[in-house]
């Protein structure tokens, strides 16, 4: 039996997070976070912990909900819609599952940290492909891979700070020096294999956030097109504007099922999961970048200003489109030309 619908509880959880962000993560809150040192708010992370959101993937024994990627999908989408500055995707979809799959005999600080995530007391960061020494500012645990070895560095120290076009993505560069031998958790082939799984998780989670970002951009833009009057009419009545928005919506609506399918593949360890994830990330990246471009064009000059909120979501689209493999890279992967 094929069932492509979300369950009632999954939709309710999404609605709860939406209600939370409408109060606690307004555009003004997002701006405040972007201006802050970390780029995100530990207080809001703690509140998300109270909602159960930070611990979705943490096992029940460690205070989490013990759920999977299908359950997480709508929450990540909601995070994208809200422009949530906290590193929800990376912590819940990459770091926590990576820790859970590390061998228990390794000197792994897994349980302590996943419990702290569920309580909303810690964010964990994984240095993604392409920027292997950079982790989210404020992370209490940094998971790194140097091509052979996975390290889990507690209380990582930044050598320098790199900010992103997305103001919530403040990165700590830990520098070129190898982490200390005491932080090694896995070596060799098993390390590489696990790392590649982590990369797939990261690409998938980012695609889910991008769907939410695109959704918000299209919503803001169609609202604006209904209000803005030129030539005596709402500009949304002009076909040129309608067709821009229809194109963006169509790209988004056909990216969604790829993202949901890939979530299912991760939960059920489908051997084709890598393909499904690359399809999802390629489609979601393109959909979000198109939505950003349409959004700016339809808004006109007001969308180009710092004061207007549109750029917060456009910048998230641009930053995340390239994170964990961009659309070109994932399509090359589908043809077997590249891999993690």
């Amino acid at each position: 039996m094929i069932d492509f619908a979300f369950h009632e509880q999954q939709l309710e959880f999404r609605d709860q997070l939406r209600a939370f962000t409408e109060k606690q993560c307004t555009a003004a809150d997002v701006r405040a976070a972007w201006r802050s040192e970390l780029g995100w708010s530990p207080a809001r992370w703690k509140a998300l912990g109270g909602l159960g959101v930070t611990g979705v993937t943490v096992p029940v024994e460690q205070g989490g909900l013990g759920l999977g990627m299908v359950d997480l999908a709508l929450l990540l989408e909601e995070a994208g819609r809200a422009g949530l500055p906290e590193p929800l995707a990376e912590t819940t979809a990459v770091a926590v599952p990576l820790l859970a799959r590390m061998p228990t005999d390794a000197a792994s600080p897994a349980q302590k940290w996943t419990a702290a995530v569920a309580a909303g007391d810690a964010v964990l960061s994984v240095a993604g492909p392409g920027l292997p020494t950079m982790v989210t500012a404020g992370a209490q645990l940094a998971i790194l891979f140097d091509g052979e070895t996975i390290y889990a560095v507690e209380a990582p120290q930044a050598v320098s700070i790199r900010r992103s076009v997305d103001g919530s993505r403040t990165l700590w560069d830990l520098g070129p020096e190898a982490p200390s031998a005491t932080t090694v958790v896995l070596r060799g082939e098993p390390a590489a294999e696990l790392w590649h799984e982590g990369c797939d998780n990261g690409a998938w989670a980012t695609s889910a956030v991008l769907v939410g970002v695109a959704d918000r951009l299209i919503e803001m833009t169609s609202t604006y097109a209904k209000q803005r009057v030129q030539f005596g009419k709402a500009i949304g009545s002009f076909q040129a504007v309608k067709h821009h928005l229809a194109d963006a919506l169509i790209r988004l609506e056909f990216a969604r099922p790829l993202v949901y399918r890939a979530a299912w593949s991760l939960d059920f360890r489908d051997p084709e999961a890598g393909r499904h994830i690359s399809m999802a990330k390629s489609a979601a990246s393109d959909a979000a970048v198109l939505a950003a471009s349409v959004a700016l064009q339809v808004h006109g000059a007001i969308g180009y200003t710092w004061e207007y909120d549109l750029h917060l979501w456009m910048k998230k689209a641009w930053a995340l489109a390239g994170a964990w493999g961009d659309a070109l890279w994932h399509r090359a992967r589908l043809l077997g030309q590249v891999d993690w």
């Binding site: 069932d3 169609s222 009419k233 169509i250 043809l335």
Partner: protein, 339 residues
């Protein structure tokens, strides 16, 4: 196929089907395309008229029209467009007048797909000229051999004579050949247009199959044409992504329909997506073939990819142009004001 109830698997058994559900039908279509079985000559009737007959037809009409449609004994063509009513379908002027106990039809239809060889035509005719233009239309079923019907086949750009102009000169249509209520034909026709744009006509298998063939073409040509292959690789991968997106989206829609939902204006998103995906797949294939793409075969027919490309070119035009579809998406899904 008809004799073993394979030609219309989703229909009730008494009309020649197997009464399978929506998801089984989708699986059937996947297998049909995977087997590279031929285009079904009866598809206009089966996919466009039949859903409307099931919804609006009387029992007598269903018994009369469905079995020969399923067997291929009677081929149907559509009578929507007129010389001055294309995208603006509500502008149709062909009319039906009450005379005696019957309707008498006069006027002209054009771009009637399969009209060159069809046995019957279904379409809209104006029966109340005084009413607002979306009202006062009636859905008629007209035999193509009725006195007063003249068919002029139109050669398509691929050389085939698939569609036709059809002229009506005092053609008598009895009440038994009215589908749905008199003067309510617009609602009846929109139900059919929904199935043309939405789920029922465009099985995702068609695009999955074409994308798989494109991948094969790319892999076979990669060594011989390395530069071309390098440039086109991204388009090949994009075709794979889009075909899969369409397949999953269709299953997603099917799940919603089975749960009691309907396919409304989203059908317009489907139509834009499949028609543009189809075109992109064929353009990429022709680019991969390079100078060989233009060549005809020994029977002076376009080769497979060129033939498919010429066919795909019609996709963004028929069943409501993609410009009209984008208007529908913007107005009914996003709520933008009408022009």
């Amino acid at each position: 196929m008809f004799e073993d109830h394979w030609s219309v698997v989703a229909w009730p058994e008494r009309y020649g089907g197997r009464a399978v559900g929506l998801l089984e039908w989708l699986v059937f279509e996947e297998e049909y395309y995977r087997a590279r079985a031929p285009t079904r000559v009866g598809q206009n009737g089966i996919f466009l008229l039949a859903p409307t007959l099931f919804e609006f037809g009387t029992d007598e009409q269903k018994d009369r029209y469905l079995p020969p449609m399923a067997s291929g004994e009677e081929i149907w063509c559509q009578g929507w467009s007129e010389p001055d009513a294309g995208s603006d379908l509500a502008a149709i002027r062909s009319r039906g007048e009450r005379r005696g106990g019957d309707w008498v039809v006069n006027g002209q239809k054009t771009w009637c797909s399969r009209g060159a060889f069809a046995d019957w035509l279904f379409g809209l005719f104006r029966t109340d000229p005084a009413a607002e233009r979306h009202r006062g239309l009636t859905y008629f079923l007209v035999p193509m051999d009725a006195p007063g019907v003249t068919v002029r086949p139109i050669a398509q750009l691929d050389g085939e004579t698939g569609f036709a102009e059809v002229f009506f000169d005092d053609v008598v249509v009895p009440d038994a050949q009215v589908l749905g209520q008199v003067d309510r034909g617009w609602e009846v026709a929109m139900a059919t247009a929904g199935s043309e744009r939405g789920l029922s006509l465009r099985s995702p298998a068609r695009y999955s199959e074409a994308a798989a063939r494109l991948l094969d073409l790319y892999e076979r040509g990669r060594d011989r044409h390395p530069v071309r292959a390098a440039r086109l690789a991204d388009d090949v991968a994009r075709a794979l992504v889009d075909a899969e997106a369409y397949r999953l989206h269709t299953y997603w829609t099917a799940t919603r329909v089975l749960a009691g939902g309907t396919v409304g204006a989203e059908a317009s998103m489907n139509k834009v997506f499949w028609s543009e995906t189809d075109l992109a797949i064929h353009r990429t294939a022709l680019a991969m073939l390079g100078p060989e793409a233009e060549l005809l075969d020994d029977h002076e027919r376009p080769q497979e990819w060129l033939d498919g490309f010429l066919f795909a070119l019609a996709g963004p035009i028929y069943a409501g142009t993609n410009e009209i579809q984008r208007n529908v998406v913007a107005e009914r899904v996003l709520g933008l004001p009408r022009s």
